[in-house]
Amino acid sequence: MLRTALLAAAMASAFPAQADTELDALRTELHELKATYETRIQALEARLRAAEAAALATPQMAAAAPRPAGRSFNPDISLILQGRYAHLDDVEHRAISGFLPAGHGHGLPRGFSLDHTEFVMSASVDPYFNGYFNLALVDEEVEIEEAWFQTTSLGHGISLKGGRFLSGIGYQNVRHPHAWDFADNNLMYRVLFGEAYGNDGLQLKWVAPTDLFMEFGAEAGHGAEYPGTNRNRNGAGSYALFGHLGGDAGISHSWRAGLSYLHAKARNREGELEDLDGAETETRFTGASKTWIADFVWKWAPGGNARARNASFAAEYFRREETGQLGCDDLDPLEPSLCSGGMTGDYAATQSGFYAQGVLQFMPRWRTGYRYDRLDPGSVDLGANSASLPVTDYRPVRHSLMLDYSPSEFSRLRVQYSRDRSMEDTRENQWFVQYIHSLGAHGAHTF
């Protein structure tokens, strides 16, 4: 009954020309209803008054037809421009003391230089898969950092990723350089992986159906990246396991903690070391490498609103065990070393380290942060090579302080000072000025 009346009222307001007769009819109807629907009638009367005055536009109450979404077919494309100015000492050969060098870094150019330019493309493949592609470009080098598909339709919290991807171990590992909070990588990841651990393979992940965030993942892959090598074999060359827990503590705090394990195998993994006399040697490691990582992240935003002020704290600790054989020879046949003619000995090392960093956005656009790096060369048993190669108990340490300014979400300028004592005989003050600009559809960032 009331619905009919309302409909009539709506009609009346929609067609004011026919209003007179309908208004009379409505009034009669309203009086009948009054006994039972006293309160609602008042609204109807108000509506009638509105219709009579023909004062207001009639609200359109019917649901509009669904509108097609805008650009859903186009992949999201973005380009990240990064460059910097570095004020550094002239160090001929940079290597973190007490650790075998991880991969071949790009070194640290002095003065002005261009960092990786990242090209990123991502989209839904179809209703079942997502695709992601990240290309890093530097002079004379193009590197596919990531190129993977991920299932979206398995449900039950399960997703499968395949292709080349950054491993889910640790916290910092999945973050590309443009998302780092500092101008350079922490020492821990530099000794563990060079930059980050990527793999060609598969990742299976499961999120538990609980209020507390619980995520478990397993990866198997080719394992060609440091600390493994390409061993020209079928099957998996490395595997990784990781688990994360996380949640909120009140409206302003959130956290995540995790444990990860990486198992890799190496055959003739090349490295460069100075022998006891300071001559360059080339080392080749064959054996197994096991890495454990514990990570913890805490973030704070007053009232949950990170826009004006926020803070984050992250710390990771690692322990790595490597056992196998270490070969050693002259790097340059014209410059003989203590390893001349080639030596091979047992190798067993247990090493560890950590970093801890805090970043505070103290006002809109401005952030400052401090990072502390410390490594422990632990115990290294060189076997037969101990006659030619050095073992040190020097603990590399670095302090970094940064300040950055983000005119918008898409641009960031940063200045950083580091007091670097990662090399036993060098005390270096490093200054970096850096820009990070992202063009196009910039993807959302993870926690």
Binding site: A46, A55, P59, M61, P68, V207, G246, G303
Partner: protein
């Protein structure tokens, strides 16, 4: 082994027959609307509060955990959640709420969006290609979205479709009556000039036929700088505004500074459900908004 697998699958299955429909609402207004329609038949999780900027939400682990268990996702769409929702969808491993599935509901698809940019260029700031996403500030849009949401909930959970429709019918009658009441009250506001911090209230202003004469953000999403605010203050001398509007979650300083400078009131409108003590449901949201506007206009 077989038993273990069955147990595992049972534990993981998204909706068992008797469980309440799990709804993940990106913003408080949609959580409130879903509660109106779903009543005790639904378990609603509001991912954000009225004191958070819906553009900038951290993809926190707790949100991933909630997304994992949702049967239906109710969000604004139109790019409002572009900075965090894709991460949740990717990480949660929940097939039923992926885009294109019935469990993925975007309010923006059911209303006509305003301020669709003719040109998409970052020099314009953080523009949304599909148009202004703050569509719930026009209560007529709430009605449109509610009708569509009721249909969607009935589709996903047919066993309780009758209850959803009955609650929606009840709500929409009350909503229509309230609309009439609000529109009658808002007559004195018509044509009034206001300054806004961010285009959060474009739909509200269009509904009430008020005019926006100045914006505090130099470009959408970019924090107002002191120089820009000074420029806006000068601009307001030539084209005066009666009040400065900001959403409860927005930084109060720019609006307060400008209001003091121009000698006009600065209003912190609730913007969404929970924005202040009176805006504890959708009705309270618009009651309080109108009270504040009328109070300042007096």
């Amino acid at each position: 082994m077989k038993r273990l697998i069955t147990l595992f699958l049972l534990l993981c299955s998204p909706v068992s027959v008797h469980a309440a429909l799990g709804i993940f609402a990106c913003e408080p207004e949609w959580a409130a609307l879903a509660r109106e329609i779903g009543g005790a038949d639904v378990r609603v999780y509001a991912a954000t509060t009225a004191h958070q900027d819906p553009h900038r939400i951290e993809a926190r682990p707790s949100l991933i955990a909630q997304m994992r268990r949702a049967d239906l996702l109710v969000c604004t769409g139109a790019g409002l959640e572009a900075g965090w929702l894709p991460v949740l969808l990717r990480e949660a491993g929940n097939a039923s709420v992926q885009p294109g599935r019935p469990g993925h509901f975007e309010a923006a698809r059911f209303v006509t969006l305003r301020e669709v940019p003719a040109r998409i260029d970052r020099t314009e700031g953080d523009v949304h290609a599909d148009g202004n996403p703050h569509l719930h500030t026009d209560p007529r849009n709430i009605a449109k979205v509610g009708a569509a949401l009721t249909a969607r909930m009935a589709e996903i959970d047919p066993a309780r479709a009758v209850a959803y429709r009955a609650r929606w019918d009840d709500f929409s009658v009350r909503w229509e009556a309230a609309l009439v009441r609000w529109q009658a009250r808002a007559v004195p506001l018509r044509g009034m000039a206001v300054a806004v911090q961010h285009p959060s209230f474009s739909y509200l202003l269009a509904w009430l036929e008020m005019t926006e004469v100045a914006r505090l953000e130099p470009r959408p999403g970019i924090e107002p700088s002191v120089t820009h605010l000074a420029r806006v203050a000068t601009q307001l001398q030539a084209k005066p505004a009666r009040m400065v509007l900001r959403a409860a979650y927005q930084n109060p300083r720019p609006a307060d500074w400008l209001a003091a400078r121009a000698g006009i009131p600065a209003l912190a409108l609730p913007y969404t459900v929970g924005g202040n003590a009176r805006a504890n449901d959708l009705f309270g949201l618009f009651d309080d908004t109108l009270d504040q506007l009328l109070g300042a206009a007096r």
